[in-house]
Assembly symmetry: C2
Homo-oligomer: 491 residues x 2
Amino acid sequence: MAKKKKEAPITGITVLKDEDFSAWYTELINKAELADIRYNIKGFVVYREWATITIRKMYKKYEDLLEKKGHLPLTMPSLIPESNLLLEAEHVKGFSPEVFWVTEAGTSGKLPERLALRPTSETALYKMYALWIRSYKDLPFKRYLSCQVWRYEGKMTRPFFRAREFHWIESHNVFATMEAAMEQVKEDMETTYQILQDECCIPIIFFQRPEWDKFPGAVHTYAADALMGSGKVLQLPSTHLLGQIFSKPFDVKFVDKDGEEKYGYQTCYGPAQSRNYGAMIAYLGDDNGLVLPFDLAPIQIIIIPIIFKGKEKLVLDKAKEICNLFKNKYVIQIDDSDESVGNKFYYWELKGVPIRIEVGPEDIGKHQVVVVKRHDGVRYNVKETDLENKIDEIAQNYTKEIKEKSLIDFESQIEVIYEKDAAIEAINNGKIVCCGFCSIDMDAYHCAEVVEKEIGGFVRGKRVDEEKHEFATCLICGKPAECTVYIAKSY
Amino acid sequence: MAKKKKEAPITGITVLKDEDFSAWYTELINKAELADIRYNIKGFVVYREWATITIRKMYKKYEDLLEKKGHLPLTMPSLIPESNLLLEAEHVKGFSPEVFWVTEAGTSGKLPERLALRPTSETALYKMYALWIRSYKDLPFKRYLSCQVWRYEGKMTRPFFRAREFHWIESHNVFATMEAAMEQVKEDMETTYQILQDECCIPIIFFQRPEWDKFPGAVHTYAADALMGSGKVLQLPSTHLLGQIFSKPFDVKFVDKDGEEKYGYQTCYGPAQSRNYGAMIAYLGDDNGLVLPFDLAPIQIIIIPIIFKGKEKLVLDKAKEICNLFKNKYVIQIDDSDESVGNKFYYWELKGVPIRIEVGPEDIGKHQVVVVKRHDGVRYNVKETDLENKIDEIAQNYTKEIKEKSLIDFESQIEVIYEKDAAIEAINNGKIVCCGFCSIDMDAYHCAEVVEKEIGGFVRGKRVDEEKHEFATCLICGKPAECTVYIAKSY
């Protein structure tokens, strides 16, 4: 049982994050009213207002950036005929254990063919791509969907991290050459850094995943691991080089400049998921509740009137005046409920509202207010004449400040390791192991199993950015090392 | 077979809208690439890029307005347990013929209970409302979902108008009194006017629907009929007074100020549907293709460089200069493809881009460009120094101009009728019939059947705004008239 904090009121979080992360996360979800797991289908989660608003803002950032990079949106049906799913062998093998099937409709009973609730959209979309793409002039063909997918997950439900229905963005692209497709993969990785690291303040690093851990139907998978601290990682978005693996069975062809008909080269990328939100609140949150980047907060500024008998009007009028000053620029609200001031402070800290303005009769006399930043608790007495400048300054720097605190230097997390025993020790000490490995092809799978069983970590793959280390032999089997890999504990 | 227009190129629309509306609409959908009905599940339609962008802009307007009026967004699972659906008898009777059922999952086979793909979300949401709402302080409780629903429709698929999966917004609200609920219904009707009439330029009027035509589980239904011209109407959004019909079986209760536990009064409202988009493009479009309100166009300004040999750089540089001038304010693009100028004109007219700027070498010499408005074809020679002002002026007035042309005065559409034969003639002459009716309760259903069979129209219900007409007897049965109703042909 985790130590309870003394000072928190009944509505606040009572568990310390460092002492029991899992209990802390559950309390955060419940008390900040972010999700509700009481919906009466196992594994299906309701996302409440506060989470929905932030998730939408995150998705909007992705959509805008994808559109800026030349992707256009499409709207696809959610159902996929079983016959489509069967077209690519690896893909169907990977996904069919997780498919929900629609088999009946209305009063007419059985449908002629089972329809899958899409677990992912390749096999729906690429049938259409075959109809739409004709010529090299249609390429590059860059599209995306904002939609939800369903997967009959066996593992335990955890709001935002794992559920049987979740919302995401998936982008699907066709190119004339393998090189152009690989350039897209690089662009996708850059997009991921721009949103997750720069906007959501989650430190990430990309790995090329081993063969046994890639997307079913991909040539290669490149996945972002969030650095969650203490050497633990969490898989976030991944982008996949599909090559011609799908274009051949789905007949995605184009007539090239030379007049010849050729199969397209494809990529797909799942940049946004509710999991990103889960990672963000889990990583940035503290013992008082949510910490949110300024742009992503459903309410950015909360005004707390400090009411004393006889001064009600004075204080509320000033609160309204301040609210009006900022309402066209920021999402701002006055909390004029009849809760105590202390409870209001706790409540809005729990909700992660970035800026609190306290308006009391004494300060009004001095023509000033108190301004408090959520993420570090810093308080300012601000003269009314300076208020607009001060708030703008805080708003502008808020996310930057969170990012500076939260970014983890990957190099400082790793330990270069040559012996299995040293690897076990490093993993136990909260380090990410950097070592030689025979390869990341399927024939190295038995070495990866040893890593999982004996070292207690997972082979995350080959680093995508510049590799600084080189090894002669595989950490596990001692054969010549084809590559350098990283081993880490994972959520 | 409709007369073919001579001047249109192969990519343009060849059917005149007035001569064969249905063929015109199908050509518009295909040639402007708005939807694709070739997806391989019957009744499921793919919405393409151009339509998806506009529909999103429409939904965003609704979402912003709903949030301004105090509704908050939620994210709900798409599946509903059969046992939830069974809780309200009228509701299940109304919807169960249209439900798609998920019965199997993964390799484990049959699910313990059938799960409905939501046909609408009342029976999913209200289970949660029962958990969330505790006290009068939680009321009014105003929420909305942006989601898709599935209905196993028997009628013919028509892109945007009818399909087995469609996207919509649904708002679900709980109040302490019936009066407060009825105020919400009025607010919903105002919201509908604000978006559909003011932003989408579709003329509408609200009717209280007869008992036989209301939402399954509603006390009353209030529905917007779009006035599509020639006396024909099309049902668009509706708002429903649910009273305590759902709150009792779903246990949506609150402790009132007097300490007593009471059932809430509910409303629900479906403001946005892809059908709104269908109505808009069908109503505003012309023989050259789409006409779109300025805010809703995926591209607002298209620049066509008129290239002559030797002048390529001059013209393209000027096009880029103009593009840069506006790119932070409007969605603007240069069409520098190798199509002919004429084909470019046709193509972007077909797509409904509001403003075309033509840049040619001769005009460059005169320091001017040609600007053309899509909706009325008006051309201007604009001096470069005036261009920014002129474009701003056109942008500001464009939607207003469309609205002025497109709004239909309801009074001018109706004919006051006292005899059945006169009603038949009026309907055939493209009028909406205004007449006395015994009532709009279920016992008037047989009179409504006569209207449908013999007059060829449908009883749309009682007018919601001020009623100007009064009748002594029912048009059909001759009994004393309890109300005035309107009869019209409907899409």
